[in-house]
């Protein structure tokens, strides 16, 4: 299980920036459609909020992945004194 935890850590480190890149591409794409008849609503504000909020969270996922890769979750603390 510890090996899985470790290697999944690499996955989370990649998923964080990938998710952010995906969101940025989606934001550019969808906001760009505002000037055409395809998009039904103006979504600049909405996408701004989404990017602002999810950027630090994807950074957190990267840090989580880094800790997992370093083996920090191989043994979880069983008592609060260990924190």
């Amino acid at each position: 299980m510890n090996t899985i935890k470790k290697f999944l850590g690499l996955v989370w480190m990649v998923v964080g920036p990938l998710a952010m890149t995906f969101l940025v591409i989606q934001a550019i794409d969808k906001v760009g459609l505002t000037h055409t008849s395809i998009e039904r609503t103006n979504t600049i504000l909405q996408w701004g909020i989404i990017l602002f909020i999810f950027f630090p969270i994807s950074l957190g996922l990267m840090i989580f992945g880094f800790y997992a890769w370093k083996g920090e979750y191989e043994r979880l603390p069983e008592r609060s004194e260990e924190l």
Binding site: Q46, I63, Y67, R79
Partner: protein
């Protein structure tokens, strides 16, 4: 200290904490339950779908600031104590809810209306961010160690009961005043009513004592000097904050808000169900499912918290799409045959279009079917002197379900809320046990409010946004909660421990 607390005292603690928390949830949710009406009051009349999306954005803003409220009030709670901190959050929440009820509409003050509501909504979000962690911590710190899941699950019922209360008051107000008066000014009543509820709750909470564990820490001079630094600068603690977020609260948040908020939004806006029908379905679903918060909370004391929460996420991932497909199929009245129609009552209303000689003719026909269901078909035609009649697309709305389908929908909502009780019932005990007393308020509040406020609170907003993209289907929005729940399920399964921390007196 907590083990010796008499049973009637712990129920007093739960009662006083839960009442205040329930009122805060009520305050927070009436905005969401009235999003369509509020949208029409805050934005120009011709804003259409963007008015709803912008109102959902204001609604979502309240969720987004919850983590900041968790930091501000969590820090305060770890510094000055649990009792006074969540008294303060109650006052802020009640005050801003009351003021939302007084804000003039867009017609009167223009864009100042949505801006003022946004500011008040942000205060609501900050207050709620401080409230929940305090109440959960307060109850857990009074509870016996082998029954922490059971006792904190009472606090967990408040979020659902707050929604129940908000829906109930809205339905009663609307039925008493009538639809037109309610849309005109009656929608303000549920907001204004909040001030009475808050006054009662403040009175009760003033009589409460400080948490025994916090009092002990204070008397020993062990209160944290800088809870934020100790929570997030300490790697050992910070990694647990991240684990709690990605392995539990993130998935729990989307399951919660899909079952209780997106479901309502979907039934009302996508399925075009009648206002009362959509709310009654949710009210019954909530009423039947709420006791299971306590069932799963108590069960988690016996078998651990982890697998109950993760099973709730797994079931959501598997069943959301079939459930919502059923909602769509059973409310599709486009292919009914003439033999099914019992009666059809048309009413025609024609108005002159401003600054032109053309008229807009609206034909609303109410169809009643032989199974007891009904719907209204609305067709708007432009009557032009130059071009003749230009017919527009027909819209079907105000659908009332037949009794069997109505109860089937209640069953489907009940199932979704049952999943909510699985993920949400044990989570307070799970979070409390993860962090030490002196930084507990701060540390547990942040992952809880990012998971629920950001990931969960954004479900109606992001799902509606995705469903509005060109080429999407009405079910496309579900990929957001399904994807987040799946990620959380994998992380939780691999990294979380099922062990309970017996000793939280540290």
């Amino acid at each position: 200290m907590s083990e010796t607390l008499p049973k009637n005292n712990i129920f007093k603690v739960i009662g006083a904490s839960s009442l205040g928390t329930l009122i805060e949830w009520y305050d927070f949710y009436i905005f969401g339950s009235l999003a369509v009406i509020i949208g029409s009051k805050l934005f120009p009349e011709d804003a259409g779908a963007s008015a709803l999306i912008n109102t959902l954005a204001i609604f979502a803003a309240g969720f987004i600031v919850r983590p900041f409220g968790a930091l501000v009030f969590g820090r305060l709670g770890d510094l000055i104590g649990r009792k006074y901190t969540f008294l303060l959050t109650l006052v802020l929440m009640g005050g801003s809810t009351f003021l939302i009820g007084l804000i003039p509409s867009y017609k009167t003050i223009g864009y100042a209306a949505p801006i003022l509501v946004l500011v008040l909504r942000l205060i609501q979000g900050l207050a709620l961010g401080g409230e929940y962690g305090g109440a959960a911590t307060y109850v857990a710190e009074h509870a016996p160690k082998n029954r922490r899941g059971f006792f904190t699950s009472w606090i967990q019922t408040t979020a659902t009961l707050g929604l129940f209360l908000s829906l109930g008051i809205i339905v009663i107000t609307k039925n008493v005043l009538g639809a037109d008066t309610f849309a005109d000014w009656g929608w303000r009543i549920p907001f204004l009513l909040s001030i009475l509820l808050v006054v009662v709750s403040i009175y009760i909470r003033m009589k409460m004592h400080e948490s025994p564990m916090f009092s002990k820490l204070k008397s020993e001079g062990k209160v944290s000097k800088n809870p934020l630094k100790e929570s997030f600068n300490n790697k050992a603690n910070f990694k647990m904050v991240l684990l709690a977020l990605f392995g539990a609260t993130m998935g729990q948040g989307v399951i919660w808000y899909t079952g209780q908020f997106y479901a309502q939004s979907f039934l009302e806006n996508t399925c075009k169900l009648d206002f009362n029908d959509s709310r009654y379905i949710l009210l019954w679903g909530i009423a039947f499912a709420t006791p299971f918060f306590v069932v799963f909370g108590a069960w988690s004391d016996k078998i651990g918290r982890k697998w109950i929460m993760l099973a709730g996420m797994l079931l959501g991932i598997i069943f959301y799409r079939p459930i919502y497909q059923t909602f769509l199929d059973d409310t599709d009245f486009t292919s009914i045959s003439q033999t099914e129609i019992v009666s059809s009552t048309p009413s025609v209303h024609t108005v002159l279009i401003d600054q032109s000689q053309d008229s807009l003719r609206t034909t609303s026909t109410k169809f009643v079917l032989n199974d007891g269901s009904s719907f209204v078909k609305v067709q708007q035609d432009t009557l032009s002197i130059a071009k003749g009649i230009a017919p527009a697309k027909e819209v079907i709305k105000d659908k009332v379900l037949s009794k069997p389908v109505f109860w089937k929908f209640i069953g489907l909502i009940f199932f979704q809320i049952l999943l909510v009780t699985m993920v949400y019932g044990p989570i307070a005990a799970f979070l409390v046990e993860l962090f030490p007393t002196k930084i507990r308020y701060t540390s547990m509040s942040l992952p809880y409010h990012i998971g629920n406020g950001v990931f969960g609170g954004l479900v109606p907003f992001i799902a509606t946004l995705i469903a509005s993209f060109s080429g999407s289907t009405p079910l496309s929005g579900l990929w957001y909660p399904i994807g987040i729940a799946a990620l959380s399920l994998i992380i939780g399964t691999v990294y979380l421990s099922n062990k309970r921390d017996e000793n939280i007196n540290d």
